[in-house]
Symmetry: C3
Subunit: 316 residues, 3 copies
């Protein structure tokens, strides 16, 4: 190879059982602890403090060998970057600013039956930007800014309602503390935009790391606000994870549609790259709320949903 | 790359002419001698006799650049493994136990116009488990068991009729001898399961290797049993292959639907990784049997099918 | 890896604005200067002057992470080769002989809003062979033939009208001069074939390289002939590109459907592998001609089309 291409990956396969509204399904699943991936990336030093980079990353469905259901071969990331002393200009498909807090300040990293992400909603707005954005122009702050980090991302919808995105995130990390806020605005098929904002705070005391995550979504009169308290406790080669989340819906007759989720997990690290894990999560819906810890089975309005999964994750 | 990723592949392209029921088609084809592939795999030593591994393998359609018709990006294999002194636990999509004998004890390795697999049938049961299984939990015996090898595989159907599989294989290899038996049970859309069982025996005398393959399928009253005699003869850098197979159908008015196949092939090894090959196969259908040595053209009940292909295989 | 696999790639992302018939669209686009790719190839020395090779090359859509719209995973190339002292036998999907001149003698290499290819047409014949061919058997002259180079390619249609191709190209390069001619014949759904022929000539004077490209297409009574004059001028680390093309339609009432394109571009090389670029192109249609410099928006008969794009290309 002409350039020094870095290739890496991760496969995560689990046995998962979910029960929602009295219907149960047990299956082999994937991505219970971390999302499966296979990537190729490269960086070139252009001199004068400039660097160029390219990044292509797939999302294999490890249990069936399928391409990711999005149908995008490079589902996770496809970007070209230009790095300068003043930051990184990044072009292409990528995670967006408002997603990061939902993963960083969640003990379950927004993955699996215990993910805080289970209660995140676009409020029926059709916004397709809860995780990733296509055609994005991103600017990322350079490293080593005295603890500050941040990013801005703008993406045209290119004719697809729900894809037009503008968002930003700024954070500060110092010693055991980490805090960040993010805001985004997504165009929809109506004249009303979908807005998402969130904030996270964590403190790592060594014997335990505690996290607070706040998230708010708005689509016209429809609103949802949620808070989550999370904790991770290292025990020898293992890590205990726990979280409790409450989501409060309001507006347009949805005030009763609240939901709660409590999750408990354990990771046993066989090495830095390989782990066994187990997670249990219980989600209760009020009113007509229809959140779920996973599929199948499908969501049922007002019913509880609970799930358990045990799996193995191998990164390379 | 963080881990030591092994990348490998194989492309096999041929010119193939098939005539079935008087209709002929000549085309550029692929996978006449071995199946094309591109794979990525990794293993990690976890200490204490434990190892972890991941395996992702695609099936390029070499003559057109297409993805495999299954639509699965990682059509050939997508698994995570944990190896212990007591064997390997493997999770994901993979070949299943009942397929192995059909390849190992066939001079044509279940590939191309001469494949024993041309006469293998699911008897219209809808079972999709003649080769591979999704969502499979497999246990493989460790190496060096005094000649014994074996595997067990269980897979939930996950709501898809014809995907629910349970099967096992056990074999013994010693000096020139190799023998194995396998059995599997696949759920179908009806209350009747599809059952497949097969056995193989081979003896490698040096100047020639002879093989016997027995295969039996049952779906309620419908049955098919077949036997195949095969031989491979090394001649300098080349290898002559020949096989004769007879398949006997019975039950539910299918008793007359028997079929025979005779195949002759030659492989000329340009190196350990590159070969030229040619294969001729003749298949005769009785009654309403509609087997074929390849497509196009489509199968014709009761008609003969014959094919010839010459190709090049390059492994890397 | 058993063999010495070469992995390489290129990502090209741009901001593109196209206006056609008074309708404008601005978007993040891809492949403005070079086509994005990710490839795997290998060669093996078989001794006695023989070599074998395999080549698999994808076409990532860099701005969205999608697979190429053709739906072919290995869209760019999928071939097995056998190299002898008398030339290369190549089997599979590949560029075809009549495409090369359209890229080699175009300052814009047949890519982006300024591509000569914008005026190339199959005259509505349904021929799908303007760039690549599936199931192709190709013969390429060996290197070092005293300046001569050439190739022949034959491909069966395999039942798909517009895919049956036979073509050849021969060229001569000596010092600053390079010249080549190509001809191809493609089967269509009617009894009338589509014929394409082209020729190119270039002279590299060091301070500038000038190029002439002639292209002719015929489908029964329908004809199109075009000529293009191109020039590239290196300026320090940069390269200025300019071209002017005239396409003349004739036959079956299409005599008035002519078109012209003028394009100007600048490439600034940040390194041998990384470049920033900008291109402007203006295309005018006469009569009912409906060529365009890019999409969206769609083509409009008789209307002008112009486009500008700025982008970054990183090869690895």
């Amino acid at each position: 190879q002409q350039a020094n291409i870095t290739m890496w990956g991760l496969l995560d396969v689990s046995l998962k059982s979910v029960s929602t509204g009295g219907v149960s399904a047990t299956q082999m699943a994937t991505d219970g602890m971390q999302n499966s991936r296979l990537g190729f990336r490269v960086e070139e030093d252009l001199g004068s403090g400039l660097r160029a980079g390219a990044w292509l990353e797939m999302a294999p469905v490890a249990d069936t060998g399928a391409m990711y259901p999005s149908g995008k071969l490079w589902h996770r990331r496809s970007t070209v970057s230009l790095y300068t002393g003043a930051g990184e200009l990044r072009l292409g498909r990528d995670l967006n600013p408002t997603f990061y807090n939902l993963a960083v300040f969640d003990p379950f990293s927004a993955v699996g039956v215990g993910a805080s992400f289970n209660l995140v909603t676009n409020l029926g707005s059709g916004a397709a930007t809860l995780l990733r954005t296509d055609n994005a122009v991103s600017y990322n702050l350079p490293a080593n800014q005295g603890g500050w980090y941040g990013q801005v991302q703008v993406a045209p919808g290119e004719g697809v309602a729900g894809n037009r995105y503008g968002g930003a995130r700024i954070g500060y990390q110092s010693g055991p503390w980490n805090a960040a806020v993010a805001y985004a605005h997504t165009g929809t098929a109506t004249s009303t935009p979908f807005k998402l904002m969130n904030a996270g705070l964590s403190y790592d005391a060594g014997v335990a790391k505690v996290m607070l995550l706040l998230n708010g979504a708005q689509y016209g009169a429809l609103k949802q606000t949620s808070w989550q308290l999370g904790v991770t406790v290292p025990v020898g080669l293992g890590l205990i994870k726990a979280s409790y989340q409450h989501a409060n819906a309001s507006g347009a007759g949805t005030d009763a549609n609240d939901a709660n989720q409590a999750a408990l997990g354990y990771v046993y690290n066989l090495s830095k790259r390989t782990a066994l894990y187990g997670t249990y999560s219980h989600l209760s819906n009020s009113g007509k709320a229809s959140f779920k810890v996973g599929t199948p089975p499908g969501a049922v309005a007002g019913a509880n949903s609970r799930g358990v999964e045990i799996g193995i994750m191998h990164a390379f």
